[in-house]
Structures are given as structure tokens and as C-alpha cells.
């Protein structure tokens, strides 16, 4: 894309002027698609984590061992979190390395604290997805759970867009709807906060490219929103444990 922009008829002769826009777009797209990939892989990992073992009967041999059911859920969750975070770290590092190799200013100008905060938020996304998926895995069968989780994840993207549109048209009820959707599915909020830390809207190009992603155009989520996300995650894990602890394994 960086090579494409300077050579198009529209941008002919204006390569250097468009380069900052292209860099912004490439960086944002890199993070956005990788985050989406991570979220979908996490859903694939987690949707059948318990449901498939319940369906196959594999779980019977394990739950008749001296372990509590909450230990089983937390063990599953812990393993999946480790796996998803390892994969997310690999992807995150890859983006940074590739960006640095191509000399993208968005990447080369990053500070350590930006990278650390961005990485932690990048990891928070699959962890949050897993917390909900585990609850779904206890409640539904593997395939319906996967479909439902993809729907919830996409709903978060829609929420981001609705909020963005609300801000463009300056309509509070539309913004409110977007926020409500973000409360139901806060994954996009996590991503957009991460994106704003990694690709801040300080430059003119960044401001101009703000609408190029689906992450909305609002400010990074407040500490209260992150407190809500923590309660949201904890709530779903607690619900999963409670439901599983009372479940008949038949």
C-alpha cells in the first residue's frame, strides 16, 4: 500500500504528501486485522473448550477425579488465556518488527510506555473474549456458542461505528445507543483504546485518517469503562463457574 499510493493517478507526484496517510492506514489496519484475527481465534479456541468435552463425554473421566468444578473452569480458562496471550504477543511483536523494518514513523516513534500499554490492552482483548466464551461454552453447544460469540464481537464493532456516527452528526441518542452496545460488547472499546495509544491522533494525518478504521473517533475509554470491563469479565467467569457447578454431566 505504501508503494501503491505514490503511483496512482490520483496521488501522482504527491507521494510524499500521502505517505503519512498511508502509514497511518497501514498501521491501523495491521492492528485492526490482527486484533480481529486474535478475537476470532480465541472464539474458536474457547467456544468448544467445555461444550465439546461435555458433548463427547470426555469430561466424565476428569470430573470424577478429586477436583472441584471451579478448578476445572479456572484451569481451562488459564490454559486458554496463556495460549491466546502467547499468540497475541507473537502477532503484536510481528507488527512492531515489520513496521520498524519498513521504517513506519508510527512504529519507530513509539515509546516504551506506549508499547507496554498497547501490548497489555492487546492482550486484554482475547482475555475478555475468553471470559464470555467460557460462559457460552458451559451454556451452549460448541457451534452455536461460536456463532453467538462472533455475533457479540461484531456487535461491538457496530457499537463503535454507531458511536462514531453519533459524534459526526452530533446526536446524543445515537451516541448513547453506541455506548449501550459497547457495554454489551466492550471488545471494540478495548481495541480502540489500544489503537489510540499505539497510533495517537496527534498528527494531522492521524486526525484525517481517524475514520479509516472502525474503532470510532472518541477519546480512549475512561478508567471507569475499564473498571466496568473488569467487572464484566469477572461476572462472566463467575456465572460460568456457578452454572457449571450446578450442571448435570449426563
Amino acid at each position: 500500500m505504501l508503494n501503491y499510493f505514490p503511483n496512482t493517478s490520483v496521488t501522482h507526484g504527491m507521494g510524499n504528501q500521502f505517505r503519512p496517510f498511508a502509514i497511518q492506514m497501514v498501521t491501523k489496519m495491521g492492528f485492526q486485522f490482527s486484533a480481529m484475527l486474535i478475537a476470532l481465534l480465541t472464539i474458536m479456541l474457547g467456544s468448544g473448550a467445555i461444550a465439546s468435552e461435555l458433548e463427547s463425554g470426555l469430561i466424565q473421566g476428569i470430573l470424577t477425579r478429586p477436583i472441584h468444578r471451579y478448578q476445572f473452569i479456572l484451569g481451562k480458562l488459564g490454559g486458554l488465556v496463556l495460549l491466546a496471550c502467547t499468540y497475541a504477543t507473537l502477532l503484536f511483536t510481528s507488527i512492531l518488527v515489520i513496521g520498524a523494518l519498513f521504517g513506519l514513523s508510527t512504529i519507530t516513534s513509539l515509546t516504551f510506555s506506549q508499547i507496554l500499554s498497547g501490548w497489555l490492552l492487546y492482550l486484554l482483548l482475547p482475555v475478555a473474549v475468553l471470559c464470555v466464551t467460557i460462559f457460552g461454552s458451559v451454556t451452549f453447544k460448541a457451534v452455536p456458542n461460536g456463532i453467538l460469540m462472533i455475533f457479540i464481537y461484531i456487535l461491538g464493532n457496530v457499537g463503535g461505528m454507531v458511536e462514531m456516527i453519533g459524534q459526526y452528526v452530533n446526536n446524543n441518542s445515537v451516541i448513547g445507543t453506541g455506548i449501550f452496545i459497547s457495554l454489551v460488547s466492550p471488545f471494540q472499546t478495548i481495541y480502540s483504546t489500544m489503537e489510540r495509544i499505539m497510533v495517537p491522533n496527534s498528527e494531522l494525518a492521524a486526525g484525517a485518517m481517524a475514520g479509516a478504521s472502525l474503532s470510532g473517533s472518541g477519546k480512549p475509554a475512561s478508567i471507569w469503562m475499564f473498571l466496568y470491563i473488569a467487572i464484566y469479565m469477572l461476572g462472566f467467569v463467575t456465572l460460568a463457574i456457578r452454572k457449571f457447578s450446578a450442571k448435570d454431566i449426563s
Binding site: 463427547s56 473421566g61 478429586p66 448435570d248
Partner: protein
């Protein structure tokens, strides 16, 4: 009692899987749990192992309330629909279960159970590559891993060939000698008859009979007599001696004897009274005949009447 239940009931919505199940299993026994498909046997076992929660009623397993986690340290379970992590090798699977049990002498125990179930040398292969019989054997090995005081075997020989079945029978007998209590659910009645000390029959979710095996079969012998020249006086005399004597529609007689030793005396008596004897056939009561009487459709109607 190593297992004791009081009015254990499990309902799924309007459907009753088990109703008012009362069990009392003595330690060191091989306890047979019999019934037709869908009678509620597996549900009952799952309640005892803590997989399913009873709707009402109570019970104890190894002195702990149903579902107590600590009781599972001394318990083994081979599920009816055995399924194990097929990406693991047999050894990995046993190591995994040993970790779940927090087994101390892991290596020795694994070697012991592999030898016991006849899977020595096969433990390096993946469980997914095992035959169905081998998968059942590795399942049995997992169940035996904690050296359990109580082991639930739900159809332990369903995938095994006759030699495998005999091996499992031998394992059951060996475990019994070591003092292990075995709760056996099997459709192979000859197998149950060969190894069980007590049995419980369950039909449509309710216990229809619980008895010790020897009491149940009582070594009763049903004798069929085909003879010619039976007088009325002789029949009266015989009836006084064998009150169960009956004349069947085809003219033959049946009598229930307590001992095989009664047969020669009975034959001598008939011959000395001038009776011509054509047939004298003893039939020992089997678990199958008892099973049919108790849980066959006819048995059910007679139970209900």
C-alpha cells in the same frame, strides 16, 4: 456401608430417570446393578459419582455425602461411553490422571495398572490409535490408578472380546480379594452371576429387587418329570413331600427342589411305585431367568399387580 442412598430421585423436567432409589452396599463386595437399557442405571451411577445432582433424596459414598470431592480420592470410575484424550499416548493419559489424583508413587502405580489391564508395551501409542477394546482397557487402567477402595464399572466389557472379558472378570475377582468394592453395571448376566455377591434390579427408574446373589438364586432346582403310571395316591403323597409339585398342561410335572441330592431319592420312589420314568431334568435357576421375571414386561406386570 460404603454406599448408602435414601430415596434418591432424579427428574429431568417431567421425566423421572430415578425414583426413590435406596441402596446399601457393603464394603468389599462386588455389587451388580442390573436393568434394561434406559432403566436409570447410568443416571444412578452418575449421582453416586457426583456427575449428576439428585433432585431429592440423599446418600453417602465412602462415608461422605454425594458429590464430595475428597471421596473421589479413593474412587475409580469407568464410564459407559468411555472417551479419552485421543491425542495423548496411553502413558500421557495415565500421567495426566495421576496428576489429577495427586498420586505420589506415580511411576509404580502406572506400571502396575498397565500390567493389570494387559497394556504393557502399548503405552507409547496414542489413545486415538487404540482399538475400542484397548481404549476400554486404558479406561479401566485410569479407573484403577488411585488404587481405589470403591470402583464404579459401567459396562466394563462392552467393547471387549471373550478373552478381554475374562481378563476383566479376573481383575474384578483380584480386586475383590484385595478388599476393593466394585459397583458393576453390566448387561452380561452370566458375567454378573459369576462375580457378584449382591445384585439390585432397577426398572423404569425404581429398584424392583435387591438381594444377595445366593439368596436370589438360592440354589433352587426346578425339576421336570415326564412319567407314565402316576396314581392319584402317589400324586397326593408326592405333593405332601414336594409342595411345589405342579401338573402342567402337557401332563408333565414340575417340582422345586432345594438340593440335587433329592433327585435320586425322588426317582427311586417313583420307580418303586411302578411308575415308568421317561425324563427327569433338573434346571438350575439362573440370573437371566430372575432378570426376565423381574424386569421383563411380564415381570413388571406381576410386580405391579
Amino acid at each position: 456401608m460404603i454406599i448408602e442412598t435414601h430415596a434418591l430421585t432424579k427428574k429431568y423436567g417431567n421425566k423421572t430417570a430415578c425414583e426413590q432409589i435406596n441402596l446399601a452396599v457393603e464394603a468389599g463386595q462386588v455389587y451388580g446393578f442390573l436393568g434394561r437399557n434406559g432403566a436409570g442405571k447410568s443416571t444412578c451411577i452418575k449421582m453416586l459419582t457426583g456427575l449428576v445432582f439428585p433432585t431429592s433424596g440423599s446418600g453417602t459414598v465412602l462415608g461422605k455425602p454425594l458429590g464430595d470431592v475428597s471421596a473421589r480420592e479413593r474412587m475409580g470410575y469407568l464410564p459407559e461411553l468411555f472417551r479419552y484424550q485421543d491425542w495423548m499416548t496411553g502413558l500421557d493419559l495415565l500421567n495426566f490422571h495421576a496428576q489429577l489424583i495427586k498420586l505420589k508413587n506415580k511411576k509404580d502405580q502406572i506400571t502396575r495398572v498397565l500390567k493389570l489391564v494387559g497394556l504393557e508395551g502399548q503405552e507409547k501409542y496414542k489413545v486415538g490409535a487404540y482399538s475400542k477394546g484397548m481404549q476400554q482397557r486404558i479406561g479401566l487402567a485410569c479407573a484403577l490408578l488411585p488404587n481405589p477402595q470403591l470402583i464404579f464399572l459401567d459396562e466394563p466389557t462392552s467393547a471387549l472380546d471373550p478373552i478381554g472379558r475374562k481378563d476383566v472378570r479376573d481383575i474384578i475377582v483380584a480386586l475383590k480379594k484385595e478388599g476393593t468394592t466394585i459397583f458393576l453395571n453390566s448387561h452380561l448376566l452370566s458375567e454378573v452371576e459369576a462375580v457378584c455377591d449382591s445384585v439390585t434390579f432397577i426398572h423404569k427408574g425404581t429398584v424392583v429387587k435387591s438381594a444377595r446373589m445366593d439368596e436370589l438364586l438360592m440354589n433352587k432346582i426346578s425339576l421336570t418329570i415326564r412319567a407314565k403310571g402316576m396314581t392319584e395316591d402317589l400324586l397326593v403323597t408326592m405333593h405332601n413331600q414336594y409342595q411345589s409339585l405342579q401338573i402342567l398342561a402337557d401332563g408333565s410335572l414340575t417340582a422345586t427342589l432345594k438340593d440335587y441330592e433329592e433327585i435320586p431319592a425322588l426317582a427311586a420312589k417313583l420307580i418303586s411305585n411302578g411308575v415308568t420314568l421317561y425324563e427327569l431334568t433338573p434346571h438350575r435357576e439362573t440370573l437371566e431367568t430372575v432378570f426376565m421375571q423381574l424386569v421383563g414386561e411380564e415381570g413388571l406386570s406381576s410386580q405391579q399387580s
